[in-house]
């Protein structure tokens, strides 16, 4: 009976991929179209603003480059954390997971600072198309980052309570997959929005 239960709870899948993992991949595929539409919107309206401020008046590349670097490193950190989780190395998992979350928080903080700063300089959602498309695109990305931080923090707390064992590393893996996706989207947004001017 115990065997039948275990079989019912963890049936083998046709593809060999865990259901949740396949679901996250599917969701990511769908999200690609979401961000593709937002990025298209930015590009369609690029240079169409009737009044300023314009990108060149406002962007501060060094700050956002630093944020980009944080996000890129966090993808590496979460890989190391997952490696720790899969091999049962608790310290490695917790440490790198903490670093991942820290990078995420700093990135989100950087964006909050940037947004506030831009608003002070007169860039708003309502003011011109550049403001509308910029805040919508980067704002939705920022929301994804924030949700990712909440998700990773939840896994972190679970890990602290000893619930992320090697058999349950999938719980971290699917959060990490999502995190990589958020990172990859930024790799597209950063050059398209900040560098191509």
């Amino acid at each position: 009976m115990a065997h039948a239960d275990a079989h019912a709870m963890h049936p083998e899948t046709n593809t060999g991929i865990d259901n949740r993992k396949l679901a996250i991949w599917t969701f990511i595929g769908s999200e690609c179209l979401f961000f593709a539409s937002l990025i298209s919107t930015y590009l369609v309206y690029k240079g169409k603003s009737l009044v300023g401020p314009f990108p060149k008046d406002i962007f501060e590349i060094p700050l956002v480059t630093f944020g980009t670097a944080l996000l890129l490193f966090s993808s590496l950190f979460v890989v190391l954390a997952l490696n720790g989780a899969e091999r049962g190395k608790r310290g490695q998992m917790l440490g790198w997971l903490f670093m991942t979350i820290l990078c995420g928080v700093f990135f989100a903080g950087m964006q909050v600072y940037e947004f506030t700063h831009f608003v002070h300089k007169g860039l708003t959602l309502q003011g011109n198309l550049f403001g509308a498309t910029f805040f919508t695109l980067t704002g939705f990305h920022g929301t994804h980052v924030t949700l990712g931080v909440v998700w990773l923090a939840t896994v972190f707390i679970e890990a602290l309570r000893g619930r992320v064992t090697p058999e349950k590393a999938i719980n971290l893996e699917i959060a990490a997959l999502y995190w990589h996706f958020v990172d990859v989207v930024w790799i597209v947004i950063f050059p398209v929005v900040y560098l191509m001017n």
């Binding site: 009976m1 595929g29 769908s30 179209l33 539409s37 309206y45 169409k48 309502q126 198309l129």
Partner: protein, 608 residues
């Protein structure tokens, strides 16, 4: 024989009933039934809207409806029939039959499935609640900017539309992920992709279309929502915005949406024809690949909805050609259906009648569709009743005929009762006659220049007779739906005695009792070929073991009310956004908290 049922209900999982069990169920069959029941209700509401429209148009210069109410009725009729009737009626069949067809006990994510259902129902109720405020959406089902912008639609009407569609999109996307994973991952041993029933294949392609097209309308709606709620200028020309950008985003979603509406119907027809012809589906592989090809091309034809916007000869030519190309895989399907019946031992039962009606009506709708693909012809036809005739031939003559065929075919499996054949055939003939009376004359008045979406027409233009005929037809159609409801009521009064396999079915759902036990299959079937159940009956595959001996325990997912609460949370978040200038940030914080609370409880409760 496979149908020798012994003791198929282990005591631990005796049938549960009562309101609470329906609110917390994660059983794909109960969820399917709730999809069907709620969608049928919305279908009736949409139908009443259509009848009101037809009464208004029965004679020239009529003032039965005010222009304002007329706008609300045609907008809600279109929106309801697409998002609240045809899509969820298809979802009913996805839910009930995909797990049965692939030999699974449930979908991959049963609670997510319940979540999709509740989000859909709440979204549908929210859209229709707009009538209570006298502010139903009134800008047409494709909500063209800048007609839908704040400047030209200042009331709450289009807010209801934007928010309602956004909420419904959440339901579709969640279901899309769920069924995509279910079909790829949960197939019984031996059920390779190229052995799946055609309904599963077409449903699979539909999910891919949902997953790739709904994010686009989500963005389109977000931008419109920002324009309306926060004063951005995405579609407002005075701020540099381009109203045509809405049309592009909308139709990049909107054209795949057409296939989201019709592909499940293609699947249903492909299940029914072989069973009632006593022959396997003709050209299985061609059916699969033509379905894939239709879906692929479906993403490259959106601008054929926009010929009248003046895109220039190059764009017009490209989109014309792409659109004409779609006729090829569609034609392949039609010839394969005819090939399936060719030389078959035809069983003239009600599902077969509707399936045949589908083929005839869909061909007519398809032909007028090919006419539109020619840009110069489209310029004459666009925004006229010719277009109304065309899409009703594909969506009513196509989708509704097929969904009805599915209802007569699968009713005994879902409810253990066969629908009455006599009333079924009466339903068919009334529907076929009523349908053609209503919509065929629209081709003619359309070509004569009668514009769609205008609340009346002057006398003396030669539209009177045709419009009267259409109104009579609409009431004949309504009568046919009434006959269906009588049929349901009449057979419901009788005991549930339908056999497990009333039609000599080809697929696995017929190998288990009617209605199926909660766990579907006592033993996961082993599949040895296409038409898995025919294979079993022929002796080419081992028959299904129907009973579970004492002590054998089939583990089923636990019921949960968090999906319902999370669905309430989703609606609350959007409503709080819509009313943010009245409730302030507090409303949004409360709604987001409810959503998070539900998701956390959902994530941490034991699923089994």
């Amino acid at each position: 024989m496979a149908t020798s049922v012994l003791d198929h209900a282990p005591a631990a999982h005796a049938e549960k009933s009562g309101l609470w069990s329906w609110l917390t169920t994660v059983d794909h069959k109960k969820i399917g039934i709730m999809y069907g029941a709620s969608a049928f209700l919305f279908f009736l509401i949409g139908g009443i809207e259509a009848l009101l429209i037809r009464v208004q148009l029965a004679k020239p210069d009529n003032n039965f409806l005010s222009p304002e109410l007329y706008n609300q009725l045609f907008t809600m009729h279109g929106t309801s029939m697409i998002f609240l009737a045809v899509m969820p009626l298809s979802a009913m069949y996805f839910n009930f039959f995909i797990p049965l067809h692939i030999g699974a006990r449930d979908v991959a994510f049963p609670r997510l499935n319940a979540f999709s259902l509740w989000v859909f129902i709440l979204g549908g109720l929210f859209l229709n609640a707009s009538f209570l405020f006298g502010a139903a959406p009134n800008g047409g089902w494709f909500g063209y900017a800048n007609l839908s912008s704040k400047q030209y639609s200042p009331g709450l009407n289009m807010d209801f539309w934007v928010i309602g569609l956004q909420v419904l999109g959440v339901a579709s996307l969640a279901a899309g992920v769920n069924f995509f994973v279910t079909i790829l991952n949960l197939r019984a041993p031996g059920m390779s992709l190229m052995r799946m029933p055609m309904f599963v294949w077409m449903s699979f392609i539909t999910q891919v279309l949902v997953l790739l097209s709904f994010p686009v309308i989500t963005v389109a709606l977000i931008l419109l929502m920002f324009d309306r709620l926060f004063g951005t200028h995405f579609y407002v020309p005075s701020g540099g915005g381009d109203p045509l950008f809405w049309q592009h985003l909308f139709w990049v979603f909107g054209h795949p949406e057409v296939y989201i509406l019709i592909l499940p119907s293609f699947g249903i027809i492909s299940e029914i024809l072989p069973v009632f012809s006593r022959k396997p589906l003709f050209g299985y592989a061609a059916m699969v690949f033509s379905g894939c090809f239709i879906a692929f091309l479906g993403f490259g034809v959106w601008s054929h909805h926009m010929f009248a916007t003046g895109m220039g000869p190059v764009a017009d030519t490209v989109f014309s050609l792409m659109t004409m190309l779609i006729a090829i895989p569609t034609g392949v399907k039609i010839f394969n259906w005819l090939g399936t019946t060719w030389g078959g031992s035809l069983q003239f039962r009600t599902p077969f009648y509707f399936a045949m009606g589908f083929i005839a009506m869909f061909i007519m709708g398809g032909l007028s569709g090919v006419m539109h693909s020619t840009a110069p012809a489209d310029l004459q036809q666009t925004d006229s009743y010719f277009v109304v005739a065309h899409f009703h031939y594909v969506l009513f003559g196509g989708a509704i005929f097929a969904l009805t065929a599915g209802a007569y075919y699968w009713w005994p499996k879902m409810f253990g009762r066969l629908l009455d054949e006599g009333l079924g055939k009466l339903h068919f003939w009334l529907m076929l006659i009523g349908f053609n009376l209503t919509f065929f004359p629209m081709h003619i008045v359309g070509l004569h220049g009668m514009p769609r979406r205008v609340y009346t027409y002057p006398a003396g233009l030669g539209f009177e007779a045709m419009n009267q005929l259409e109104t009579v037809g609409a009431f004949v159609l309504a009568l046919s739906i009434l006959v269906f409801m009588v049929n349901v009521a009449k057979t419901w009064a009788a005991p549930a005695t339908a056999p497990a396999d009333p039609w000599n079915g080809a697929t696995l759902e017929w190998a288990i009792p009617s209605p199926p036990p909660e766990y579907n299959f006592a033993e996961i079937p082993a599949v040895h070929g296409r038409d898995a159940y025919w294979e079993m009956k022929r002796g080419g595959a081992p028959a299904l073991r129907q009973y579970t001996g004492p002590g054998e325990h089939i583990h089923l997912p636990n019921p949960s009310f968090w999906p319902l609460l999370a669905a309430v949370g989703v609606l609350a978040v959007f409503v709080a956004l819509m009313l943010h200038d009245r409730t302030g940030p507090l409303g949004i914080v409360a709604a987001v908290s409810l959503l998070f609370l539900s998701i956390y409880n959902w994530a941490f409760e034991p699923a089994h």
